[in-house]
């Protein structure tokens, strides 16, 4: 199963499922990363982590470790 972590820069993917539990998952969902939403990967930080994505019309940054929990 591909995750958001594997998505390439410039690629737009659709969220299929969020794994994990509790605070981190809730936070990701609160920020709009829910089932069925389109996410575009914008860039990777200069040091290789975190990444920046566009979701629901705004820019969001998240760590690769958290992006890994999002199936696309």
């Amino acid at each position: 199963m591909a995750t958001l972590r594997d998505a390439k820069i410039g690629e737009t993917v659709t969220v299929k499922r969020l794994n994990g539990e509790g605070a981190v998952k809730r936070r990701l969902m609160d920020m709009g990363l829910t089932k069925g939403v389109d996410v575009t990967v914008r860039k990777v930080a200069p040091l290789g982590d975190p990444i920046e994505v566009t979701v629901r019309g705004y820019e969001l940054s998240l760590r690769k470790a958290d992006a890994e929990k999002i199936d696309v």
Binding site: L18, G20, E21, G22, A23, V24, K25, R26, R27, L28, M29, D30, M31, G32, T34, K35, V37, K43, V44, A45, P46, L47, G48, D49, P50, E52, R56, G57, Y58, E59, L60, S61, L62, R63, D66
Partner: protein
């Protein structure tokens, strides 16, 4: 009757700007009890009976961040008369998510769509009429930045509050969720007022720990409810919390389709273009470095220093020339006088002899004489004059009377408008009314000295706060976190921790205050605790003194101090994040990168002033009280066995001196168990440079260089000065955390010095068996803490079912 209105909205939605517009200067800034979250209240400009509470910027009403908990507790427990929900029109979708949650609270609500000017400029349209119909509350359009629509919104909010029309949420969840919610309401919530039932029902469905704890539901009801929830989860193939979140966004997507029309356009927005450069793979770090250098340079070396020198030497010193007119001529006159009467051949010859004899500090005095500036000479002579005399190269016979004559004949007032400093003015005033000596010294040295110590930090700090406010408001601070996160998160810190630490290398006080830009409470606390490990400006004299006295001015001493500081931060970060104190909330780094925009002048200035004044008020009291305490401790003591006050009190005979001799055994394992070292360490609490004042160079002669280094390290790492402690207290907003921070710093300093001294002894062949065992134990403990695997807190990340 008073009306309470709460401002609620996402971070970066323009809430603060609107709050400032509504309340003007009628604001009270404080903290929410027990957390480091800022609380702001104010009265409506046009109607003083209306109290507006600015809730922290939040994305949701989840129980996971202190901001969200504070906001929802306020809304549930205080039940304001109305909620004014601010929605960023340029980011409608995510902003409406919070709106759907606020609507369930059953509190009268109106929505204000902010940044409507930007929305229109982009060519997008928001159908507020339709939005209002679908949400079930009034919706108005405003632009906080341009100031349009503010008055109408305020009037509407007051009217809504007065009418008391309870908000009825218009959205519904899917069938099985609604079914479960109805069951919950029926089973347990029917005693609550009708409008509050919905919110509690949703929270119970989400298994919200904080709500469950509060409601204390009986066991059998709980298991009954749990069955409903579990059924629902099975049907939807997701956990309850996610089901609710998903449903909300599905509803919002519908709303957006109806009410929002985006003008299709390719190309990038201005913000995108800026971001392409600023967070560019190759340019991001250089740009960051340049920004930091500018901030550091302006607040520490140019404008900031100028202002601080004036506060310390002028306002709270002897005095100053108005606008600096005449200062140069005055100094010239002093230099001329000194060249003739102080820098005589005899003085020069004596000092040269001292240099040849390798007397510490003689070279500095000689340099100053050769340079010809009296001010430099005065400073060097003040530091090393006594050592020279003690080694038999006494120049005070010529210098002291000459300086006295100079002060009598050359009056600064002759060279320009001379404004005397506050201590001078007060002292003259007290002399005129024949005040008792001890009271005069208490007022001048204790109180005014203490006030000066507080205010001395303020100018530099204000300059720094302007930068911070600007960087935060324009959106760059979020990018700093984005760029630096990878390095800092390993040590339990945030990418934004870099800024407090950089500032801390100048002075720890604004460094600690700068930690306010970090949103996550855990990262913020960690930053506050470790920032003062970085050697600040006031620790430089200690390093210089030890380098001169024991290491023949070795160049590597200062770099090693910075190295130890950085290492202390890293080691502490890794150790502390595994302790119980920090095990609390896991810290997801899921952060919005807001669009860049130019902040308004007013907002930047206001933010600067709020931070500055909160330092003066909160930290100031602690600093002032401790200065008075230290003044009393060093001025009262035993002269010839009789207790009393004396201006000439020898430190060793004073109360502080006695305390020093009583506790000095504690430092014996570190190699400096002498009263002077103990007193110097206590005085270091007033200001780190005071250590040098207590500890004349001669006191070091008896010390080995190993003990000296251990002493240096202890003073670098232990509790910072009272000013910084005051700042820590201010930012932690909790006595418990302040004591924890200071206690940790002292213990850590002790541990490091112990290891340095005992392992040092081992290498030099003078083993102290007991000490070595102790040091090895400490070493083993630190290695264990570093190597111990780190697990994110299990308690919160694992959802329990409702079964008891």
């Amino acid at each position: 009757m008073e009306i309470k209105i709460a401002l609620a909205g996402n971070p970066n939605c323009g809430k603060t700007t609107l709050f400032n517009l509504l309340t003007g200067s009628n604001q009270f800034v404080g903290n929410w009890p027990g957390v480091t979250v800022e609380k702001k209240e104010g009265r409506l400009k046009s109607d003083k009976n209306v109290i507006i509470t600015d809730l922290p910027g939040i994305y949701s009403l989840s129980p996971y961040t202190p901001e969200e908990v504070v906001a929802r507790n306020y809304l549930i427990d205080e039940r304001p008369d109305a909620i004014l929900n601010i929605i960023d029109g340029t980011n409608l979708e995510r902003n409406l998510y919070l709106t759907t949650q606020l609507a369930e609270l059953g509190i009268p609500m109106i929505c204000a769509v902010n940044m409507i000017d930007v929305v229109r400029k982009n060519g997008d349209t928001i159908n507020t009429e339709q939005l209002s119909k679908r949400l079930g509350c009034a919706v108005c359009e405003i632009s906080a930045l341009k100031g349009t629509g503010i008055k109408e919104t305020a009037d509407l909010a007051v009217k809504t509050a007065q009418s008391g029309e309870k908000m009825i949420p218009q959205h519904s969840f899917c069938g099985c969720v609604e079914h479960a919610l109805a069951h919950i309401e029926e089973a347990f919530l029917h005693d609550l007022p009708a409008e509050q039932q919905r919110w509690y029902a949703v929270k119970i469905f989400e298994r919200d720990g904080k709500v469950l704890e509060k409601l204390n539901i009986p066991e059998d009801t709980l298991s009954h409810i749990e069955n409903d929830i579990a059924d629902c989860e099975k049907e939807m193939d997701d956990d309850a919390e996610s089901i609710i979140t998903n449903e909300r966004y599905i509803y919002i997507a519908e709303l957006i389709k109806e009410c929002f029309k985006k003008k299709k356009k390719g190309g990038l927005t201005i913000s995108d273009k800026i971001d392409r450069i600023i967070t560019n793979r190759f340019l991001a770090l250089p740009i960051f470095a340049v920004v930091m250098i500018i901030v550091y340079y302006i607040s520490w070396t140019s404008v900031g220093t100028l202002l601080t020198d004036w506060t310390n030497d002028g306002l709270f010193g002897d005095g100053w020339h108005l606008f600096g007119n005449g200062s140069a001529q005055y100094e010239q006159a002093q230099d001329n006088f000194a060249a003739e009467n102080i820098f005589t051949d005899e003085v020069k010859a004596t000092v040269e002899q001292a240099v040849d004899a390798d007397v510490i500090g003689a070279a500095e005095i000689l340099d100053a004489i050769d340079g010809g500036a009296f001010a430099d000479f005065d400073e060097a002579y003040g530091s090393y004059g006594e050592e020279l005399a003690a080694c038999g190269y006494d120049i005070s016979g010529i210098v002291d009377p000459a300086v006295e004559t100079m002060n009598d004949t050359i009056d600064p007032a002759d060279y320009g408008v001379w404004v005397p400093g506050i201590p001078v003015l007060v002292e003259t005033g007290l002399d005129n009314i024949n005040c008792v000596e001890w009271l005069k010294r208490l007022i001048v040295d204790g109180i005014i000295g203490g006030v000066g110590a507080v205010l001395g930090f303020v100018p530099q700090m204000l300059v720094l706060f302007i930068f911070l406010a600007f960087l935060e408001a324009c959106g760059y601070m979020a990018r700093v976190a984005f760029v630096m996160d990878r390095i800092f998160r390993r040590f339990g810190l945030s990418g934004k921790s870099f800024i407090p630490m950089l500032i801390g290398s100048g002075c720890g006080v604004p460094g600690v205050m700068a930690s306010r830009t970090i949103e996550n409470e855990r990262d913020r606390r960690m930053t506050i605790m470790t920032t003062t490990f970085i050697p600040c400006g006031a620790k430089m004299p200690i390093i210089a003194l030890i380098a001169a006295a024991l290491f023949h001015g070795a160049w590597w001493l200062a770099p090693s101090a910075y190295f130890i500081g950085v290492a202390a931060i890293i080691v502490s970060g890794i150790m502390l994040k595994k302790t119980k104190m920090f095990a609390g909330d896991p810290a997801p780094f899921v952060m919005e990168l807001p669009a860049y925009h130019l902040p308004t002048f007013g907002n930047v200035m206001r933010s600067m002033w709020e931070r500055g004044s909160s330092f003066i008020k909160k930290a100031g009291t602690i600093i002032l009280l401790s200065s008075i305490f230290i003044w009393a401790g060093s001025s009262f003591g035993w002269t010839d066995g009789v207790f009393g006050f004396s201006t000439e009190m020898e430190l060793a005979n004073s109360i502080l001196g006695k305390i020093g001799s009583a506790i000095c055994w504690i430092f014996a394992p570190l190699g400096f168990g002498e009263p002077t070292a103990a007193v110097a360490t206590i005085m270091g609490l007033v200001a780190k440079e005071e250590v040098v004042g207590v500890f004349g160079v001669l006191d070091f002669v008896a010390m080995t260089s190993l003990a000296g280094y251990s002493f240096l390290v202890f003073n670098l790492l232990c509790a910072p000065c009272f000013a910084a402690i005051g700042a820590i207290r201010r930012e932690m907003n909790s006595a418990k955390w302040t004591w924890f921070a200071i206690g940790y710093q002292c213990c850590f300093a002790y541990a490091v010095s112990l290891m340095i001294y005992q392992f040092g002894l081992l290498f030099t062949g003078n083993v102290n068996v007991l000490g070595l065992i102790f040091a090895l134990a400490v070493f083993a403990f630190i290695v264990y803490m570093l190597a111990r695997p780190y697990r994110e807190n299990v308690k919160l990340s694992k959802k329990k079912t409702l079964k008891v």
